[in-house]
C-alpha cells in the first residue's frame, strides 16, 4: 500500500463467532446473529450508538430470499438511523469496506458482521449460481466438482497427492479440537470420494454460523483493546472467471494481494487461510510463500467450520484474536470467494511489540 506512513492506524479490537452447526432451524438469521453482535459490543464496552459505521456480508442465494440482509439489520439497532452498508460477499470484504471508511477519517469505529445459513438449501447447487451464466452455470458444476478439478491439476503437477491431502485434513481437524466453535473436530475418517479425487475429508462441513468484528482507529483502538491487532495492510485481487483461462495450480491473485498487503516484507508467525478444500491449502501455501515454520490454521480453518459468507471474516477474526491473546505477533489472514480461489483477500495483522 502506497503512503503507508501517513495512513491511519486501524485495528481489529474484538471478535466473536457462533458455535457452527449443521443446522440451526430454531433460529432465524437475526436470532443466530444477535449473540455475536452483543459479544463484540460487550468485549469493547461499546453501545450500538457508539458505532460510527456498520458493514455486513451475506448472500440472498443462501437464504433463498431477496434483500435478506435487511432483516438481519434488526439485530444491529438501526434506529435512530445509522451509517450502514452491505456486500453480497463474505464478511472479509465487508471488513475491507469498513477499513477504507475508517481510513477516510469519517469513522473511528466500525462493526463488521456476516452470517450464512447453508442448511436450508443445497450449498453445492447454490454456489453454481455465481458462475458464468452463459458457458458454465447451465452445466451446473457444483462447488466440490470445481475444487476436484483443481485438486487433480495439482496432483498431475506433482504438487500433492491424496495422502498429503488427507494429512491436511487430519491436521486441521486435530487443531480444531481446541476450538469450541468448530463444527468438525478431532479424528475424522477421510471417507469416500465425493467427486474424485476429493473425499469427504477433503471437503468443508456444511453448516450455519455468524461472526462479528469491531474495528477502531488509533487511540480509540488502544482504549478498547489491551493489545489491538493492527491492520498493517490489506488488499484483494481477482482472476479471470474462465476456469480454463487460469492456472489452477497457482494463485497469482493471492500472491499479488499478499504483496500489496506487505505480507512479504517480514515473516509472519501465523496464517489463517480460507481454504475450504484441502488442495487449496497446498495452492495457498505456495502462493503466499508460507514455510513450515508458520502456524497454519491453528483454529482448524475452514475444514473444521465453513459458514459460507462468514468463513473469511472468521479467518481475520481468528488471526486477530491470537494477537489479542499474545499468541501471535504478526499474522496473515486470507479470505477467498468464487470457484477455485478466484478472488483472494489478504490482511496482515500485527500486535504492538511486547
Amino acid at each position: 500500500m502506497q503512503g503507508a506512513d501517513v495512513m491511519r492506524e486501524i485495528a481489529v479490537v474484538a471478535f466473536a463467532q457462533t458455535d457452527h452447526r449443521r443446522t440451526t432451524d430454531e433460529l432465524s438469521e437475526v436470532e443466530m446473529l444477535m449473540p455475536v453482535l452483543h459479544g463484540v459490543l460487550e468485549q469493547t464496552g461499546l453501545k450500538t450508538a457508539d458505532i460510527d459505521f456498520t458493514c455486513s456480508g451475506s448472500s440472498d442465494y443462501l437464504a433463498g430470499r431477496a434483500f435478506s440482509f435487511t432483516l438481519a439489520l434488526d439485530g444491529v439497532g438501526a434506529w435512530p438511523p445509522i451509517s450502514e452498508s452491505h456486500v453480497e460477499m463474505d464478511g472479509a470484504w465487508a471488513l475491507y469496506e469498513a477499513w477504507t471508511k475508517l481510513l477516510t477519517g469519517d469513522a473511528d469505529t466500525a462493526l463488521v458482521y456476516s452470517y450464512g445459513k447453508s442448511s436450508p438449501g443445497s450449498v453445492r447447487d447454490v454456489l453454481t449460481r455465481q458462475l458464468d451464466p452463459y458457458y458454465v452455470a447451465p452445466l451446473w458444476p457444483d462447488s466440490v466438482a470445481l475444487a476436484a478439478l483443481q485438486a487433480q491439476a495439482l496432483i498431475d503437477a506433482g504438487d500433492t497427492d491424496e495422502p498429503a491431502l488427507a494429512a491436511v485434513a487430519a491436521r486441521s481437524r486435530t487443531d480444531a479440537s481446541a476450538n469450541s466453535h468448530a463444527q468438525v473436530r478431532g479424528s475424522v475418517p477421510q471417507g469416500d470420494y465425493v467427486v474424485r479425487p476429493l473425499r469427504t475429508g477433503d471437503c468443508p462441513p456444511i453448516g450455519d454460523g455468524a461472526a462479528a468484528v469491531i474495528l477502531a482507529a488509533g487511540d480509540r483502538a488502544r482504549e478498547l483493546c489491551r493489545r489491538p491487532a493492527w491492520i498493517k495492510g490489506i488488499d484483494h485481487r481477482i482472476e479471470a472467471h474462465g476456469l480454463g483461462v487460469r492456472e489452477l495450480t497457482d494463485s497469482p491473485s493471492a500472491r499479488l494481494a499478499a504483496e500489496k498487503a506487505g505480507a512479504f516484507e517480514r515473516p509472519v508467525d501465523t496464517a489463517e487461510l480460507h481454504a475450504p478444500f484441502t488442495a487449496q491449502e497446498v495452492v495457498l501455501r505456495k502462493a503466499l510463500r508460507l514455510g513450515d515454520d508458520v502456524r497454519v490454521n491453528p483454529s482448524g480453518g475452514t475444514l473444521a467450520a465453513n459458514p459460507v459468507m462468514a468463513a473469511g471474516l472468521i479467518r481475520i477474526g481468528e488471526a486477530a484474536a491470537r494477537i489479542h491473546r499474545g499468541e501471535s505477533d504478526r499474522a496473515l489472514a486470507h479470505a477467498t470467494s468464487g470457484p477455485c480461489l478466484q478472488q483472494n483477500l489478504v490482511a496482515v495483522l500485527e500486535g504492538d511489540p511486547r
Partner: protein
C-alpha cells in the same frame, strides 16, 4: 416450545440473457456444429471466447474456428450426477483444450469409469441431437482415439462468426430448492395464528410490542422474548385502494389494503379491508380480523362498528 416450522421453498427463474457479438457467434456456432474461439492481442486463442482480453482488458473481436477434438487438461470423476448436470450417468468433469485453442472449456466427458480417464487423453465433442444455441448443444465429450476426421492439430482458421438466424439471447432456467424455517419467533407467531390468535413480542428495553415478531427489536438491537397477545381489534392507520387485479388472486377490484395497528401492538401490520365499500374506508376506522373456514391467517379485516379512533391514538403507528 412448539416444534419449529419447516416448509419446502422452491425458487425458479427463467433468466433471460442477451448475448454480445462474441457470445452470439459462439453459441450460434455450436448450433451449427462449429466451435469458435477468439484471438487476443498477443496471439492466444481463447475457447470459449470472451469479448475482452482477460489480461489487457482490450476489446477482442477476431473470431477463429477451432477443432471439435482436443486434450483433457484436468478432470474429476463425478459418480453421483446432480440435477441439471450434462449426463445422468456417472461421468468425468473435464477441462478440454480444443485443438487450435490455448485455453480450456469446461464440460462433461462420457466415460465408463475413472480408470478410463486421464489428463492428456484425447476427446471429441458429442453434439446434442437438438441444438438451440447454448453450451448444452455440446451434449458432452467422448474419448477419441482416431485421427481420421482431419480436425486434430488444426490451426485456427479465421471465421466471420456470421451464420443465418443468429442466436441473440439465451434463457437460462435456474431452480434452487430449500427447506425454509422461519426461526423461533416467527414460528411462535404462525402457531398462534393457527389458533386464531395474534401474538407479538415485547422489547425488554424500549417496551415496544412487535407484530409479527422477528426475535429482535430493530430499535434496540436486542432479543425479544416476552409474548404479548394483541388484537383482535385494531385501527386502520393508513391505506391504499388497489385497482389492478393480481394474477391468481380471487379478489374483486377495487379493494383496500391497509396498515392496521392491532390493539396492544406498537407496529402496524397490513391486511385487506372487507365488509365495507372501498370508498368508505378511512384512517382511524376500527376493524377486526376475519378468518375464513380453516384459514391459517386472517383473510381480511372488517369494521367493528365502534367509533373511529382519535388520530392521536395511532399517529405514531403510520
Amino acid at each position: 416450545m412448539p416444534e419449529v416450522l419447516k416448509a419446502p421453498l422452491v425458487l425458479e427463474f427463467p433468466f433471460t440473457r442477451s448475448l454480445g457479438p462474441i457470445q452470439s457467434a459462439f453459441l450460434t456456432g455450436l448450433r451449427e456444429r462449429v466451435v469458435l474461439g477468439v484471438k487476443t492481442g498477443d496471439g492466444r486463442t481463447l475457447v470459449p471466447p470472451v469479448e475482452y482480453d482477460p489480461v489487457t482488458a482490450e476489446e477482442i473481436r477476431d473470431l477463429v474456428q477451432v477443432a471439435a477434438t482436443g486434450t483433457v487438461t484436468t478432470w474429476a470423476w463425478n459418480h453421483e450426477p446432480r440435477r441439471g448436470q450434462p449426463l445422468d450417468t456417472p461421468f468425468a468433469w473435464v477441462l478440454v483444450r480444443l485443438d487450435g485453442a490455448d485455453t480450456a472449456l469446461l464440460h462433461a466427458l462420457d466415460a465408463p469409469g475413472p480408470d478410463a480417464v486421464r489428463t492428456g487423453m484425447r476427446v471429441r465433442v458429442r453434439w446434442a441431437e437438438e441444438r438451440t444455441g447454448a453450451i448444452t448443444d455440446i451434449a458432452c465429450f467422448e474419448p477419441y482415439e482416431g485421427d481420421g476426421d482431419g480436425d486434430e492439430e488444426r490451426q485456427p482458421a479465421a471465421h466471420t462468426g456470421e451464420f443465418e438466424d443468429m442466436v441473440t439471447g439465451i434463457v437460462a432456467p435456474a431452480r434452487l430448492d430449500y427447506v425454509y424455517s422461519p426461526g423461533r419467533a416467527q414460528t411462535d407467531y404462525i402457531h398462534a395464528l393457527s389458533g386464531q390468535r395474534t401474538v407479538g413480542e415485547r422489547c425488554p428495553t424500549c417496551r415496544k410490542v412487535y407484530v409479527p415478531p422477528r426475535g429482535a427489536c430493530p430499535t434496540c438491537g436486542v432479543a425479544t422474548a416476552e409474548h404479548v397477545e394483541v388484537g383482535p381489534r385494531g385501527t386502520v392507520t393508513t391505506f391504499c385502494i388497489v385497482n389492478i387485479k393480481a394474477k391468481n388472486l380471487d379478489i374483486e377490484v377495487p379493494y383496500v389494503y391497509a396498515h392496521i395497528a392491532l390493539d396492544g401492538a406498537d407496529l402496524a401490520l397490513h391486511g385487506r379491508i372487507g365488509g365495507i365499500p372501498y370508498d368508505q374506508v378511512r384512517m382511524g376506522l376500527r376493524v377486526e380480523a376475519v378468518w375464513s373456514e380453516g384459514g391459517r391467517y386472517p383473510d381480511h379485516y372488517r369494521p367493528t362498528g365502534e367509533p373511529d379512533a382519535d388520530y392521536d391514538a395511532y399517529k405514531e403507528l403510520l
